[in-house]
């Protein structure tokens, strides 16, 4: 395919996932407002960090008064999965310039990675030579809509104003529940969440939100052990 056709195919194939991300972008905007972030900080985080889960968690931690270095560390841990995406797509990007690879890496999200890796691996979809334009199209479409969703969310939050004030600080946990629960589809994921939650409660008294890291580690451990036990029996 030509560059132009690859680019638009990437944007088009990612569209269903982009639409799926719209409510999350809007909720992120609302959450930022309740966490006390000014609009420019909420928008700048979307523009420069551009990572949904990490942005949510950062806003949540900000609302709880977590020290900044700790938020950065949590961001790193939450985004480590992107390193795996990078590893799996790297062989296809080998011949690109450093600029191309940096631009594609910056824009890589769960959504655009998912569609692009399928496109690269499918040999019936033609030569791989121009498929980086597909990746760029997927990234850029996701990026533009994510910025708009977040701006819209912040604006909606501002417009709601007073009604939110009734239970302002409860919006965050309830939004997190709405995001988390549907992801728990196996015994391992349910146990990981339960153990992480319990551990977070038990370690809540520790300084600097140290308990959060312990809770995440305990959750991963519980999930891994369950998977191991499942595969044995």
């Amino acid at each position: 395919m030509t560059r132009r056709r690859e680019f638009f195919a990437g944007a088009r194939d990612t569209a269903p996932l982009i639409i799926g991300a719209v409510p999350f972008g809007i909720l992120y905007g609302v959450i930022c407002l309740t966490a006390g972030m000014p609009w420019w900080a909420a928008q700048a985080m979307s523009a420069f960090v551009f990572a949904g889960s990490a942005q949510f968690i950062a806003a949540g931690l900000l609302g709880q008064g977590t020290p900044f270095p700790f938020i950065v560390l949590t961001t790193l841990i939450v985004n480590l999965r992107h390193a795996l995406y990078g590893a799996s797509i790297a062989p296809y990007l080998r011949d690109l310039s450093a600029t191309w690879r940096a631009v594609l890496a910056f824009g890589m999200t769960d959504e655009s990675y998912a569609t692009t890796i399928v496109h690269y691996r499918d040999e019936t979809r033609g030569e791989n030579a121009n498929k980086h334009w597909y990746f760029l199209g997927a990234n850029l479409a996701m990026y533009v809509f994510w910025q708009l969703d977040c701006a819209l969310g912040y604006w909606i939050g501002t417009a709601l104003g007073d009604p939110l004030a009734l239970g302002l600080d409860f919006v965050l946990p309830v939004v997190f529940i709405a995001i988390l629960i549907p992801q728990l589809k196996s015994r391992a994921t349910i146990l990981a969440a339960l153990v992480a939650g319990a551990m977070a409660v038990l370690t809540a008294g520790l300084p600097n939100k140290l308990g959060l890291l312990i809770a995440i580690a305990a959750g991963i451990f519980a999930g891994m052990m369950t998977e191991k036990w499942n595969s044995r029996s």
Binding site: A87, R101, F176, A204, L212
Partner: protein, 104 residues
């Protein structure tokens, strides 16, 4: 200004996770256990933020409080319907109702 520093830090570590392996060119075969472990991270992080928010009051476990009851309602709706907006509406409405009728 402090927000700008936070965002800069987050942007740098996020870009590092995305770019590092693309540069190393995937010569390293990632062990399956690592892939599996990382799939649990976002879920564990979300759960670790939610639980203290609905269970604790001034660092003490308090089950008889509006936030826990509303949180429980939201969890049930999310588990049975998997619908995001419905979960949020039920969760917030429960909080308001419980606060109005029981804990003013």
């Amino acid at each position: 200004m402090e927000f700008a520093l936070l965002i800069l830090g987050m942007a740098l570590v996020t870009f590092a996770t995305r770019y590092s392996m693309i540069v190393i060119l995937g010569r390293w075969q990632v062990p399956r256990a690592v892939t599996l472990a990382l799939t649990f991270v976002p879920m564990a992080a979300f759960a670790a933020i939610i639980a203290p928010e609905i269970l604790l009051q001034k660092n003490e476990i308090a089950l008889v409080n509006a936030r826990f009851i509303a949180g429980l309602a939201a969890i049930l709706v999310a588990a049975f319907t998997r619908r995001i907006m419905l979960t949020i509406i039920v969760g917030m409405a429960t909080l308001w109702l419980v606060q109005i009728f029981f804990f003013h």
